[in-house]
């Protein structure tokens, strides 16, 4: 099944793009697309601009400092303008050649870049100005490689209107060592090669096919274009509009449904397939704004429309399925399937009214309403022909004498569903009111309240009118093929005790919050602040209907010491709530249906009653954040941050603790326009503690320490992450030469250790033999060292050439992929992605810069 974006709509879009004045809004208040640059120069040209050797001012040497204490940069040399009638223009083009070597195909090296050897357009910049009326036009473009490029253009009149457009290609290399055994990667039909038979290949044949598959790159490229328009209707009224259209194309490693390989290693199978990415998102935004001396108003609309080319994708299964019933057989199951994300639409309307108040204050009221909606056609419960399940009597005919064999015709069609389309929506409502008063120069009062509500619209009952069964087909039939009664359906007559999912889960949420705060300027250089907040979250169909979070935050800003700015804050937060219901999901299961007959031993407990999910559990949080900026000398700045966050969760089972602590130190030096240097060091760590418990039985007892979840099966784990960052940059001009150097390093190390009470806690009891009660996974390491050195020679005022070398070495050890370098077939587990790998790559570039 396949959805084509109508050709007419594409034509209309193209026409609109050509006809609409080009431009795309970069608004800090709404929307994305606020920055376009390349990794060659993430500053979009500012880094390559030559500092003005005259400095900033004739009146004072050096750079002044911002109010916060940071040194301002030395401005670039003013551009040389060329007159063209009323207009004057300037620009430059930077082009050249890049050469990559080493492990230059590595996914980590190419993340969001896709480096390639060849000619590049480093940057094209053109600017034109008409001083007479303030009109301007700007163009900027880059092409690093085929999938890594942008073009943007803007024109307008300062203070009047602005029209802007952009085109952008953004690569995302996800794997450089993928070995998918299927043909058709990137399409919605993955088929096996000729040397493998669907549902008829042996483990050895599949392993051989996997080994023989050459490594390839999997990537997804985002191609986006946008236009936008801003205009002053009057000095008070402005209007804004923007439109963007993004297509994603490619393939990514994805899962593959089947059954428990760990439990049935000779019967089931596990796949890592490739998912096709072929979709499109259109975003719209518009606003009408008024800013007067007393009132301000803002009326805004945001819309977003997602369309996937496919509603599903399928993959062929190479393995034959064998039921666990001795002597029985299963019909071949040729294909598995995944639904893709549904097409969806989003609308949001917002209005804000703000009025100035006495005491230099303001009051603001914002109301917004929106809807997220999808009504995709639902795919059939299974993709098969003939029969599926367990052919118990060997007849190949489903019926009372062959109860675990099913007819595909009754399940491989949307007619097997209670309704053909999803028809789901979430309505959102938000009202926000806030006020600020400044009754004196030293005193500020703040208050705010917010109401937010998500109403989930639509319920789905999994019912097959063709069979009278409730539920679904587990694992595309593999489960039914393996284990009698595990097909995933409930029937009041034939399987009245089956416990299966039969309903969707509507998730309504309502949040009410309020805060009250004050800031007091105790002296010219000292300000103290305090804020008390309260939030009530009310959710349906979650473990807790109500969760209340209260917090107090204290702040201190100090500028008393010359050259020092200190900002510090501390927050104490507490979340509590009503009773925690460990299993609120019973209504979505067949146990809630009339006619359900509990099994002889009762309905097994769904989970342990001591579990406290951390998004709802009681928690005490303490966090602090300190930032300081210090002027070490007139041309030198040192700044530092220290922050910490401690979270204690009241959970015997679940997340128990999550702490973070970090510090950074950065140094900047600008002794002259010709020299600039900086260095930084950062360290941070996190610690995450969790507890869980294995189950040893299937009784109704949910208690921790009970029959199902005995203390002997309890286990604990701690994950510790440590990150160290360091870097240094130097930019130095000497005559016609300019030299630049940068070094950046990251060393991350994570350790996950565990302890357990007995082998009952383990997936494999044998791992506890010998009295082992604890252990740790190998360190998860990621280390990157990156060095760039460059030299620029200006052989005239117009022409210069830059030669640079970027050397990067990355080392990674991720235990998830241990063993994947040797093989991707582990029995009947077939993997595609080989995981991240070490690399050492080199990029040499020669870029000629011409001032136009």
């Amino acid at each position: 099944m396949h959805r084509n974006v109508p050709a007419l709509r594409r034509s209309l879009l193209t026409t609109a793009l050509l006809a609409t004045p080009l431009f795309a809004a970069a608004d800090t208040g709404a929307g994305v697309d606020t920055w376009r640059a390349s990794k060659l120069d993430p500053t979009a040209g500012a880094a390559s601009a030559t500092p003005d050797p005259r400095g900033t001012s004739w009146l004072s040497p050096g750079q002044r400092r911002s109010p916060g204490g940071m040194l301002y940069l030395c401005p670039a040399e003013p551009p040389d303008l060329t007159d063209a009638g009323d207009w004057a223009w300037y620009g430059n083009v930077q082009f050249g050649y890049l050469s990559t070597s080493g492990d230059d195909g590595n996914a980590l090296w190419n993340r969001y870049v896709a480096w390639d050897s060849g000619l590049v357009l480093g940057l094209l910049q053109l600017s034109a100005r008409r001083a007479a009326d303030g009109s301007y036009a700007d163009v900027r473009a880059n092409r690093t490689s085929e999938d890594d490029a942008f073009f943007e253009a803007a024109f307008g009149r300062a203070g009047s209107y602005k029209v802007q457009a952009f085109l952008r290609e953004l690569p995302n290399v996800l794997s450089h060592n993928a070995k998918p055994i299927w043909n058709g990667v990137g399409t919605n039909a993955l088929t096996l090669p000729a040397n493998l038979s669907p549902a008829g290949s042996t483990t050895e044949q599949v392993a051989a096919a996997s080994a023989a598959t050459p490594e390839r790159t999997l990537k997804v490229t985002r191609s986006k274009q946008g236009v936008g328009f801003d205009m002053f209707l009057s000095p008070q009224w402005t209007v804004h509009a923007n439109f963007s259209d993004e297509e994603r194309n490619g393939a990514r490693p994805f899962g593959g449904a089947f059954y428990y390989g760990f439990a049935f290693p000779d019967n089931a199978a596990v796949f890592e397939t490739t998912k096709p990415i072929d979709d499109r998102t259109i975003n719209l935004g518009a606003a009408l704004r008024y800013a007067g001396p007393v009132w301000r108003m803002d009326f805004a609309y945001a819309g977003s429309f997602y369309r996937d080319r496919y509603t599903r994708y399928t993959y062929e299964n190479p393995f034959a399925l064998t039921p666990i019933v001795p002597g029985a057989t299963s019909p071949p199951l040729v294909r598995g399937q995944f639904a893709t994300e549904p097409d969806n639409g989003y609308h949001n309307l917002r209005a804000t009214f703000t009025r100035k108040l006495p005491w230099n204050g303001e009051a603001s009221l914002t109301a917004s309403a929106g809807q997220m909606r999808q009504n995709d056609a639902l795919i059939a419960p299974i993709d098969c022909t003939g029969t599926f399940g367990i052919d118990g009597d060997g007849s190949g005919v489903p019926g009372p004498n062959n109860p675990f064999l099913y007819s595909c015709a009754q399940w491989n069609t949307p007619a097997a569903l209670s309704r053909p389309r999803a028809d789901l929506a979430i309505d959102t409502t938000r009202v926000d009111a806030r006020a600020t008063l400044q009754p004196g120069e030293r005193f500020t009062l703040r208050a705010g309240a917010t109401f937010n509500r998500d109403d989930y619209r639509g319920t789905y009952l999994a019912y097959n009118p063709l069979t009278g069964d409730y539920g679904y087909i587990t694992e595309n039939g593999a489960a039914g093929s393996l284990v009698p009664g595990a097909v995933g359906t409930w029937n009041p007559l034939t399987s009245p005790s089956a416990i299966v999912r039969v309903r969707n889960l509507p998730l309504d949420r309502e949040t009410t919050s309020a805060n009250l705060g004050a800031d007091f300027r105790a002296s010219e250089h000292n300000t103290f602040g305090a804020t008390a907040s309260f939030k009530r979250d009310e959710r349906t169909n979650r473990e807790r209907e109500r969760a209340d979070t209260s917090s107090v935050k204290l702040t201190w800003i100090n500028r008393a010491l010359a050259g020092v700015t200190l900002r510090a804050n501390a927050t104490w937060l507490k979340r509590r709530g009503d009773d925690y219901v460990y299993d609120p999901y019973g209504f979505t299961y067949s146990t809630s249906l009339p006619g359900f007959v509990p099994p002889p031993d009762g309905v097994p407990s769904f989970t342990v009653d001591a579990m406290r999910k951390y998004d709802l559990a009681d928690v005490d949080e303490t966090k602090f954040d300190v930032m300081a900026t210090l002027a070490l000398a007139a041309d030198m700045t040192l700044s530092a941050t220290v922050r910490g966050d401690r979270n204690d969760y009241d959970a015997q089972i679940g997340r128990q603790r999550y702490d973070t602590l970090g510090a950074t130190l950065q140094w900047e030096w600008q002794p002259s326009p010709a020299t600039r240097a900086s260095a930084y060091f950062g360290y941070d760590m996190s610690r995450l503690d969790l507890a869980n418990v294995g189950d040893v039985n299937t009784t109704p007892d949910p208690t921790l320490g009970g029959a199902n979840y005995p203390d002997s099966a309890r286990w604990w784990s701690t994950d510790r992450q440590h990150n160290r960052n360091a870097g240094f940059t130097l930019d130095r001009s000497v005559g016609r030469w300019r030299f630049d150097a940068a070094w950046n390093a990251l060393y991350a190390r994570g350790i996950t250790d565990f302890r357990f009470n007995s082998g009952s806690a383990l997936a494999y009891f044998a791992d506890s033999i010998g009295g082992i009660r604890d252990g740790a996974f190998p360190a998860l390491k990621y280390r990157v060292d990156s060095v760039t050195v460059g030299a620029t020679y200006a052989w005239s005022e117009r022409w210069s050439v830059r030669v640079f070398d970027l050397v990067e070495r990355g080392r990674i050890e991720d235990w998830h992929y241990f063993g994947f370098d040797a093989e991707r077939a582990f029995g009947r587990r077939i993997y595609t992605d080989g995981g991240p790998e070490d690399y050492r790559a080199n990029l040499i570039g020669v870029l000629v810069d011409v001032k136009l």
């Binding site: 208040g29 606020t34 390349s38 990794k39 993430p42 500053t43 979009a44 500012a46 400095g55 009146l59 004072s60 040497p61 109010p67 916060g68 401005p75 003013p78 551009p79 969001y112 001083a131 303030g134 301007y136 203070g159 009057s234 000095p235 593959g256 449904a257 428990y260 390989g261 975003n283 800013a291 977003s304 639904a339 994300e341 703000t354 997220m372 806030r434 999994a462 587990t474 949420r509 097994p604 407990s605 769904f606 941050t641 997340r655 930084y680 950062g682 995450l688 869980n692 418990v693 294995g694 990251l746 996950t752 791992d767 252990g775 998860l780 990621y782 235990w815 992929y817 063993g819 993997y831």
Partner: protein
Amino acid sequence: MVRWILFAQRCARRAAVCAMLAAGIANAQPATDAARDLPASNLSADDAQAGASRFLAAPGFARATVAVNPAAPGATPVGEKTCIACHQLESEHFTHTLHALGLHAASKADPSIPVCETCHGPGSAHARDPQQAGLIIGYTRTSGTPIAVQTKTCLTCHAGGARDHWLGSIHQRNELSCSDCHNPMAKFSGDGLLARRSIDETCAQCHKDVRVQFDRRSHMPLPEGKMSCVDCHNPHGSLTEPLLKTNTVNETCYQCHAEKRGPFLFEHAPVRDNCLTCHTPHGSNQHALLVAPVPFLCQQCHAQTGHPNELQTPNSLGNGRHPDERLMGRACLTCHAQIHGSNAPSGPKFHE
């Protein structure tokens, strides 16, 4: 040495003031300077009509007036040429900004519209005593102008819109000035008249601890120049903590990940609730910005009877004694691949 520099500075300033006053202010700059072509204003010269424009002032600048400086109540406007007499180099850099383009055009169309003094307030007191801090509205640490006056001056023209919720925002309460992030006196950045070369570098002045997270194994394409902090955050104030541009965390994520919006036939409750339940937005050493390694990430919540609650050991790794798909590669997500929600009628376990 420092005293010599300070002495030289004082001499230079005084010489400039003397030159300005002696030369009758208006012709104090070389003829070759770009500033020569700047329009006159009725505040400083008598040739205002001669420079009149054939265009009307743009609406955004039509009501620009001389800023109010409470620290110089008796000061009067002196006009741009007077300012340039001393601040010639600043003017050269400023001339190429969008502010200058608009103000110059507006001033030419309506000579009552000031240029420098729109932002810096009336200059006469400053011209008389340039060493005295505060007599002109300055945007530097030592300018003597209170931060509240600085921001109020900027908001005279830039009120509303993206800055609608500046008052009471975390940056306002931390006494940031507009000029901590912006420097409209020259073109330092490709867009936005920023104080640093890009949005990210500007934010990293204070938030270096966040910036370094983007160097981790999984991150959004910010270091590569493909997005900026402002794609998600509005530094000018917003209704959603922490300065998010939309009503919720999830709506912020959906701006680029619209496929995750749904709603789905089968929802994963914490996913619908908040993407940050499992992901950390600024960078992670795990795959896909995950907070913790799978399967332990999932086992913080999943203790169900069956297989999710079992502790795996390194023996279950691909090179271990008993490789197990619940630990290898994508771990839980190998089978529960549709973890963000499934639209398949057979997908309640996010298997399909």
